[in-house]
């Protein structure tokens, strides 16, 4: 099964067909995704700036990393759940979307980042607390994390700006008869000015 036919199958399931047709569920899922970005994004930033030593120095790294870990997990779970729900709705369209592909690549890089720095930084905070200075490895981890998450936001916003190839795709948002809601595109910028 090719990736494209898999994407077509996913979006054609009854669950995602219903989700796509609902004028309320999709916006709510998208809003919840944004809420999760806000909650999760703030925590990532605080942790990263602490690792860089820019702020919150009255807290040990252990306190920051260990106390934020459960909250970050909840936020990440919320992000991924909402993301999967939205991606499933428009899987075929997203298959052609360059920003979506970029975002998935960045997400994979986030996983790689976690694997690389887990042992030396995130699970090693007790040793880092005792170090006279924050080690370069921890600062590198924080810098890369900031770059990755900022890029994820940029790629995520970009997804909505790419017009789907209408001649190739089989399902659009709110395409169910009777659902009167407009397409997802922002009304602020007329379609002809969007790229």
């Amino acid at each position: 099964m090719s990736v494209l036919s898999f994407a077509q199958w996913v979006q054609s399931t009854a669950f995602f067909t219903a989700l796509r047709g609902s004028a309320y569920v999709y916006p709510i899922v998208l809003s919840t995704h944004m809420i999760a970005i806000a909650l999760f994004g703030g925590m990532i930033l605080l942790l990263d700036v602490r690792l860089l030593g820019w702020t919150m120095r009255s807290y040990t790294l252990s306190e920051m990393v260990n106390q934020l870990r459960p909250l970050k997990r909840i936020g990440f779970l919320l992000l991924i759940t909402c993301g999967l729900l939205m991606a499933g709705c428009k899987a075929e369209e997203y298959y052609y979307n360059a920003f979506f592909r970029t975002k998935m690549t960045l997400l994979a890089l986030v996983g790689v980042h976690a694997l690389i720095f887990r042992r030396g930084v995130y699970r090693n905070t007790a040793a880092l607390d005792g170090a006279p200075r924050i080690p370069a490895q921890a600062k590198l981890a924080a810098s890369l994390s900031l770059i990755l998450w900022t890029s994820l936001v940029i790629a995520g916003r970009g997804i909505g700006y790419i017009e789907p190839p209408l001649d190739k795709i089989h399902a659009r948002l709110f395409a169910v008869p009777g659902a009167a809601a407009p397409a997802i595109a922002s009304k602020a910028v007329p379609p002809d000015r969007r790229f």
């Binding site: 944004m34 009304k187 000015r193």
Partner: protein, 147 residues
């Protein structure tokens, strides 16, 4: 309605400016709401329990303020791209009302209570209201595109 022609606005005459502004808006509200949420979650007793809420507020407040300033600059610029549409949009009106309440609440009741290291019940109430207000603002923002 306003005597203003949005088609002269650079935001509407340049492919990249509008999405770039949106990204700045999103990234900075993530920082402002996220740092407020850390204090809220502490007030609710759900995280960072080894620090006091007063300490957390003191350390996150500069980040909240800087990010909020960027949000409040990028927001009106986005608004300027199509004022009449926004003024007639129920999602936008709701967002502005929620935002006004959220900001006033954040710098009055929320701040006073967080500084006083409140009892769990008061803390949970104040933190919960704060989270609900900021969640409403983000929801309102998203629904601009759907209403």
């Amino acid at each position: 309605m306003l005597v203003y022609d949005p088609s002269t606005n650079p935001l509407n005459n340049n492919e990249w400016s509008f999405p770039l502004l949106e990204i700045i808006h999103i990234a900075s509200f993530a920082v402002s709401v996220g740092t407020i949420a850390v204090v809220d979650l502490r007030l609710l007793g759900l995280g960072m329990r080894r620090q006091s809420s007063a300490q957390l507020l003191k350390d996150t407040a500069p980040w909240t303020l800087i990010a909020l300033a960027i949000v409040l600059m990028s927001g009106p610029m986005i608004f300027s791209s199509d004022p009449n549409m926004y003024l007639n949009n129920p999602g936008f009106i709701f967002k502005m009302e929620a935002l006004l309440v959220a900001i006033v609440y954040n710098y009055t009741i929320h701040r006073k209570v967080a500084q006083s290291n409140p009892s769990p019940v008061v803390g949970a109430l104040v933190g919960g209201v704060s989270l609900a207000l900021w969640v409403s603002v983000v929801f309102g923002g998203l629904f601009i595109a759907f209403t």
